[in-house]
Symmetry: C2
Subunit: 387 residues, 2 copies
C-alpha cells in the first residue's frame, strides 16, 4: 500500500444556507479544495461523496455523479458512501484505499448535508433513520434519548457532575469563536448551559450539537506526488474502522464505546504511534457526554476521568490534550455527512499551522474520530505532517 | 493488486415481499451466500451494502452496520454504497478493491431494495431521485420519459422496428421462465407487448422493468484462498467504471452511452480479453431500448445493429451472444440496489454450470453492465472461471 496525503482542503461555513442546494454547497467545498491544491486543471480520477440522507432530506440520490457533472470533472469512479453520521469518515476511507492501493492518484472527497430547510421534526426523523428500526425506533428512542441514558449511567458510575458536562460545551463554543466556518460562534457559560431548555433529562439544549447545513472537501494524492500540489502535505498515517452492536442495550458495557476503542487501536497501530504522540484530536461530540466517553476510549484519559480532564483544562487548545479546537460538532455544527470530512480539514489546518486563533502549538500529529449511529460504527484516522 | 474471486452467492426471489423488511431480505441473501461458501463460521472483515434509497423507501439509513449486527458478524468495515441503480455494482467494486489491495480477505457484498410496499407514485418518486434535480425533474422528466425519447430517436436514425423492440421483452420473459428467482415468470408474445398500455410513447408497460423487492449477496476472497470455500471460484478478471453527463440532452450523441463504452473498455483491457471472448452477458435492461443500445456500446454489435441481432436470435440463450439469460431487469425484476449484485450472482451460476434451463453452453467468461441514472455512471465487470 502506498502512503497517501491530503493535498488540498476546503469547506463552506456550517450553519444555515436557506438559498443553496446540497449540490451547491458540495460544489463550493470542492472548488475550494481544488484551488487549495492548485488542481483546478488536474484530472480527478474519483469522486467519493459522504452523505447520510440526501434522499430523505433533499429527495436526491445519485449525488456523486451529479456533483462530478456539475463540477465539470470526468472521473472514472463516482460513488456516495453512507455510514449515517460517519458517512464522511467512510467516504474518506474508501478514497484512501483507492489511492493507497495504486488504483488512482488524484481523488476528491466531499462530505455534505443539507438539513435546515426542513421543519425540525422532519429533520429529526431523518436523523432517527440511524436508530434500530425494530429495537429502538418503535419505542420512541431518539439519539438525544440514548445520549441522556448514557449520561445518567455515567454520572452515577463515575460521579461526573452536571457542571463538568457543561464545560465541554463551554470549551467548544469558546474554540469556535476563532473558527470562521463554525455554525455557533457565541461564547456561553456554564450557567447558559444549565439554564437552557431540557431536551432529554439530564441533557439540555446546549449539550446537543445543532442541525446544520454545510459541506467539506479534501483532495488526496499519493505522498510521492504530493509536492506537485502543496508544500505541506498531511499524511494519512493510519486508518481504522470498527463495528459494534447497533443497540446500546445489547452491549456489554454501554459506557465503553467498543467501536471507538477498536478503530483507534487499529489506526494507531497502523500508524505506529501511541495516543500520547498525538497533538490534536477532533472527535464526535454530537452530545457533550460523547466527548467525554470517546476521549477515554481513544486512550487520552482513564475511564471515568474524562470529566475531570475537561474541568482541569487538559482538553483546551492550550491544554495537554487539545480536543475539538474547531468547536467540534457542538459548535462548528454537524451536517451529518460533512462532519467526518470537516474533521480532516481541521486537522490539516492544525498541522499546517493555519488554524489562526484556535491553533494548537506545534501540532505535528492529529487524530479524528467520526462515529455512526450511537457509536455502532467508528472511523478513526491518524494524520501526520508530511514535510 | 491481488486476484479476487467470488466464492459464494445467494439471493432472494425478486418480486413482492409484503411481509418482510429490507434488512430481512438482505439477511436471507447473506445467509445463502455464506452457506454457499461454507463460511458461516468464517470471520467476515467487511460488509459492503449496495442500496439506492433505503431512506426514501424505508425510512432507514445505517443499513450496513445494521445488517452486520443482525447477521451476527463483526466486521472491521461496514458501509453502504449508493450509485442510484448501480449501487450494487458500486458496492461490488468497493469490496473488490478492499480484497485486491490486500486490506481484507473475506468480504460480504449485499445489494437490496424494498419498493413494493409503497404506492407506485411514491416508489416512482424515489426512483426519480436519480434524475437531474434542476435540469430534468422540475420539467416532469422521469426515467420512462427519457427511455421513450431515446427509443424514438433510435428508431428514426437506425430504423429499429417496434417489433424488434418487443422481442427484447419476449426473450427476457422466456429466459425468466427457467429462473426460480425471477419476478415475472410468464411467457409473453410480441402482441402482448404491443397491446400493453402505453407508459411513454412508444414504450409500453412490457418495455419497462417492474418495481421489485429483493436482495442478492456475494462473498469475495483472494483467489489464492478461494479453494478453502469452493471448487468453482469465479474470478473478477477486470473491473471498469465511467461517468457521463447526467442529462442525456447534454451528451454529444444520446444514442451512444459513453459511460457504458468507457467502463467496458477499461474492464476488458484490465481483463486482457476482447468482447468476442465473452460467452454470456448480463446487462441493464431497465427498458427494452437499453438492452439494444448497451449491447452495441459494449461492442457486441455494430451501432444500429442491436435490433436486428435480437430478431435474428443472436442474443438468445442458444445464440452467438447470449444476453440476460436470467431474464434481465425486465423479467428477473429490478430492486434497484440489488440489481448489480444479482447480475454477478447470475454470471457465477452460468460459469459454474448451475443455471439449469437457462444455462448458456460452455460459458467460461461473462460480463455484467450495471448503470446508474440514465447511464450517467456505469460499472462493468469481466468474470472468468477460476478452476
Amino acid at each position: 500500500m502506498r502512503e497517501v496525503a491530503i493535498v488540498g482542503v476546503g469547506m463552506t461555513p456550517f450553519g444555515k444556507h436557506p438559498d443553496r442546494s446540497l449540490i451547491d454547497l458540495m460544489l463550493e467545498a470542492s472548488h475550494t479544495a481544488l484551488m487549495d491544491a492548485g488542481a483546478l486543471e488536474t484530472p480527478i480520477e474519483a469522486v467519493h461523496v459522504g452523505c447520510m440522507a440526501s434522499g430523505m432530506l433533499c429527495g436526491l440520490e445519485n449525488t456523486a455523479t451529479l456533483l462530478a457533472d456539475e463540477l465539470g470533472v470526468k472521473p472514472q469512479t463516482a460513488e456516495r458512501v453512507e455510514n449515517s453520521a460517519a458517512s464522511g469518515g467512510s467516504a474518506l476511507l474508501s478514497a484512501y484505499l483507492a489511492v493507497a492501493s495504486g488504483l488512482y492518484d488524484v481523488v476528491l472527497i466531499v462530505g455534505g448535508e443539507k438539513m435546515r430547510h426542513l421543519p425540525t421534526p422532519q429533520a429529526t426523523r431523518a436523523i432517527a433513520a440511524m436508530t434500530h428500526p425494530e429495537g429502538e425506533r418503535p419505542h420512541g428512542v431518539t439519539m438525544p434519548s440514548l445520549a441522556a441514558l448514557l449520561t445518567r449511567l455515567y454520572m452515577r458510575r463515575y460521579g461526573l457532575t452536571r457542571r463538568q458536562l457543561a464545560l465541554v460545551a463551554v470549551k467548544n463554543h469558546r474554540n469556535a469563536l476563532s473558527n470562521p466556518y463554525a455554525h455557533l460562534r457565541r461564547a456561553i457559560t456554564v450557567e447558559d448551559v444549565l439554564s437552557s431548555r431540557v431536551v432529554a433529562e439530564p441533557l439540555r439544549l446546549f449539550d446537543c450539537s445543532p442541525i446544520s447545513d454545510g459541506a467539506a472537501a479534501l483532495l488526496l494524492a499519493p505522498l510521492e506526488r504530493a509536492l506537485e500540489f502543496t508544500d505541506q502535505p498531511v499524511v494519512l498515517r493510519g486508518v481504522g474502522q470498527a463495528v459494534d452492536r447497533v443497540m446500546m442495550t445489547e452491549r456489554d458495557d454501554p459506557l465503553t464505546l467498543h467501536a471507538v476503542k477498536e478503530a483507534a487501536g487499529r489506526a494507531l497501530e497502523r500508524a505506529g504511534v501511541s495516543i500520547d504522540e498525538i497533538d490534536v484530536v477532533e472527535l464526535h461530540d454530537a452530545f457533550t457526554i460523547l466527548e467525554i466517553v470517546e476521549s477515554e476510549d481513544l486512550g487520552l484519559f482513564e475511564k471515568g476521568r474524562g470529566g475531570e480532564a475537561v474541568e482541569e483544562g487538559l482538553t483546551a487548545i492550550d491544554g495537554e490534550r487539545p480536543i475539538n479546537p474547531s468547536g467540534g460538532l457542538k459548535a462548528r455544527g454537524h451536517p451529518l455527512g460533512a462532519t467526518g470530512v470537516a474533521q480532516a480539514v481541521e486537522i490539516t489546518w492544525q498541522l499546517r499551522g493555519e488554524a489562526g486563533g484556535r491553533q494548537v502549538r506545534e501540532a505535528e500529529r492529529g487524530l479524528s474520530c467520526n462515529v455512526s449511529g450511537f457509536a455502532a460504527n467508528a472511523v478513526v484516522i491518524v494524520y501526520e505532517r508530511g514535510w
